[in-house]
């Protein structure tokens, strides 16, 4: 029975709670990915990223991605948590984790979930730089990174 923990929250994300949730699956392979606000982008020093979401639609899209992943891999438990609001350098904005019986599918499904989240989930981010400037992170519907 697949158990999925999904949330979009303005609170800091707690990686140890994510690990605990996944370990309780009794699977043998747990993979957790963290997307973290990076210090430097194209030579500019960042201070934070600020996220906003169309929460109702974004939660449905994350649920759809989790369902798709569970059809492709034998997932025991999955976690997709995304923070909104300001996330300073060094803090995670997204935590994604998958527990499976063996490690291979855990890696693959985690990669799938973060890649697809970045392409389709209704969340946007604005970057703030050390020099006081701000800009929305440019995207296209075809972006894969």
């Amino acid at each position: 029975m697949l158990q999925v923990w999904i949330d979009i929250t303005d609170q800091p994300l707690n990686a140890s709670e994510v690990h605990s949730f996944l370990y309780e699956s009794n699977g043998g392979g747990v993979c957790v990915f963290a997307g973290v606000t990076r210090l430097e982008t194209n030579g500019k020093i960042s201070t934070s990223l600020s996220y906003e979401a169309y929460k109702s639609m974004a939660l449905k899209e994350i649920r759809r991605l989790a369902d798709e992943a569970s059809q492709r891999w034998p997932i025991l438990r999955a976690v997709v948590l995304h923070r909104i609001g300001t996330v300073v350098v060094g803090e995670p904005s997204v935590l994604i984790g998958v527990a499976t019986a063996h490690r291979g599918p855990a890696f693959e499904a985690t990669r799938f979930l973060i890649d697809e989240l970045k392409k389709s989930v209704q969340i946007w981010k604005k970057e703030s730089f050390e020099d006081g400037s701000q800009e929305w992170v440019a995207a296209s519907w075809q972006d894969l990174d």
Partner: protein, 82 residues
Amino acid sequence: MIIVTLRFFSVLREAFGAGVAEVELDPGTTGQGLIELLAANNDEFAAIQSVVRLAVNDEYVELDLQLSDGDEIALITPVSGG
């Protein structure tokens, strides 16, 4: 007339100066008609209208859909989460 609720995010929220707006439309207005109306009234929207997708009541729709009274319409630009 019909009344619909528009939801704007990120660049569009800033372009329109609000995250939510109620607008009156002629009955029979399509998604494409709404986009053209917004583009005629907002240059920033006009510049990026080709990449905007419409979602009505949390589901993406084709632009030829006729909008209905009470619809909640989100204007979705390319996403950048993660």
